[in-house]
């Protein structure tokens, strides 16, 4: 085979493999990858979790060609605005402040926040128990605001890159308590009974998680809303939710 011919074949193969689904819309979806069981990277290096399954189901419903990427939480909105990817499916709570920066789809699950402590601390189950204590929280989450609202300067707040590192420090006893999404922590406590963690106080900050997109991409927002509707109607949503949590997270 001549050199020229093999180059032509090589380029031809490259072009074919570069566009496996000709015509399908290409969408790049970002998730955090450190928020188990909603989104995390498994030991094999693949993304897994509730958010990941939902993202894949939505793409299937839209017949879109999606790629999933990970992005650190505290830079996820700036990165979306900088067009590093097109969509955030990362358990992002819809807030007024975030709505000023980006657009959201309809809610894809409901959640609340709860404080978690080590059982051995034996804190009485009232708000004053945490006064003067050190409370951990993931940076740039809505939960940081919840602590400030409840305790102001009366507690020491430590902020973490990921919720996983926050859990680690509650275990290490650098923290007296932490606050995070209740379904997430319930899943953790159930699967790690040896951690000796327990919920304290009630539930705060009822929120709904939405899929985040750039404001100018309103057509894509509608597409995602339609796809969300589809997977809720055809039972895919419930199947995914049951798989991870044993119940549907679409109930308030």
């Amino acid at each position: 085979m001549s050199m020229k011919k093999s180059i032509v074949i090589f380029l031809g193969v490259m072009m074919l493999t570069a566009s496996p689904v000709l015509g399908a819309e290409k969408i790049k979806i970002a998730t955090e990858g450190a928020y188990s069981p909603f989104n995390y990277v498994n030991p094999k290096g693949d993304l897994e979790g509730f958010d990941v399954d939902i993202a894949k189901a939505l793409c299937e419903a839209m017949k879109a060609d999606c790629t999933l990427v990970t992005q650190d939480w505290d830079g996820i909105i700036p990165a979306l605005l900088a067009k590093k990817f097109d969509v955030i499916v990362a358990s992002m709570a819809v807030t007024e402040k975030r709505k000023k920066a980006i657009a959201f789809t309809n809610p894809y699950y409901y959640s609340v926040a709860s404080y978690v402590v080590r059982k051995e601390s034996n804190f009485p189950d009232k708000a004053e128990a945490l006064v003067g204590k050190t409370i951990g929280v993931q940076r740039a989450t809505i939960h940081e605001g919840t602590i400030k609202e409840m305790y102001g300067d009366k507690v020491t707040i430590k902020t973490y890159d990921t919720n996983e590192n926050c859990i680690l420090d509650l275990k290490n006893k650098r923290l007296d308590a932490m606050i995070a999404s209740r379904p997430l922590m319930a899943h953790y406590i159930k699967h790690h009974p040896e951690s000796g963690f327990a919920f304290l106080l009630g539930m705060y900050n009822p929120v709904h998680a939405g899929i985040g997109l750039r404001k100018q991409d309103s057509a894509l927002v509608e597409k995602f809303n339609a796809a969300l509707n589809t997977i809720v109607q055809n039972g895919t949503y419930e199947q995914i939710s049951n798989k991870w949590f044993g119940e549907s997270l679409l109930k308030k």
């Binding site: 505290d74 700036p78 920066a101 940076r139 740039a140 430590k158 973490y160 590192n165 006893k173 650098r174």
Partner: protein, 217 residues
């Protein structure tokens, strides 16, 4: 509007730079105190002493500082040693800079001309006197330019403290950027502050170099 954000972010960023400066200075001081015996150990004729120093330098220069910080902050609690974030950062930064500084000092000592040391001995100086009068002053002159670099690297290395919950300049910048969704403005402001710190340090080192090497001119 963009300039407004940069302007508004300066007060909190400057306040958090205090921690950056604090970590830099303290870790450098501790580092030098650890580095001097390490450098002498590297040059020691005792095999055990020189092997220990070599292994220390080899480990701390051969592994990323971030890994060392995580090892101390997240790793040690597993064997029951829990330091708070500030102490963990200070320990890792000090141990790390000690390794680099030890090599700089060793190089400085080895650069002192052997003839001068021999003459000093011939004049009847004790080993201690030779070290204090001949080796140390010249070593400082030889080591200062390289050490100036190490100081600058150390200022920048402190930014890793933000990964273990410390609110240093980088930690504050990341928090502000996450709150405002304006990383360009916030990190530019933080960059300007780092630049100012590095530039004043390098001016100071140049001035010190000139003072210490007066004898050479």
């Amino acid at each position: 509007m963009i300039s407004d954000l940069i302007y508004d972010s300066f007060p909190p960023l400057l306040a958090s730079s205090v921690l950056t400066i604090h970590l830099t200075c303290l870790s450098l001081v501790i580092g030098v105190f650890l580095a001097l015996p390490l450098a002498l150990g590297r040059l020691s004729k005792n095999r055990w002493v020189s092997s220990f120093s070599f292994a220390y330098v080899y480990y701390f220069r051969g592994t990323p500082l971030l890994v060392q910080i995580f090892l101390i902050y997240y790793g040690l609690p597993q064997i029951g040693l829990t330091f708070d974030a500030y102490t963990s950062a200070l320990i890792s930064l000090s141990l790390n800079t000690a390794a680099y500084t030890a090599e700089i000092i060793r190089g400085g000592i080895q650069a002192v001309p052997g003839g001068e040391i021999e003459s000093a001995h011939a004049m009847g100086m004790t080993r201690r006197q030779v070290f204090r009068r001949i080796i140390l002053p010249q070593m400082i002159g030889f080591a200062l330019p390289a050490y100036g670099n190490e100081i600058i690297l150390q200022i920048k290395a402190t930014s890793l403290a933000s990964t273990i919950t410390l609110m240093d300049l980088t930690g504050m910048a990341r928090t502000l950027a996450a709150e405002t969704y304006a990383p360009l403005e916030i990190f530019s402001a933080a960059g300007i502050i780092y630049l100012a710190m590095v530039m004043s340090t390098s001016k100071l080192v140049t001035w010190m170099e000139r003072r210490w090497t007066v004898y050479r001119r």
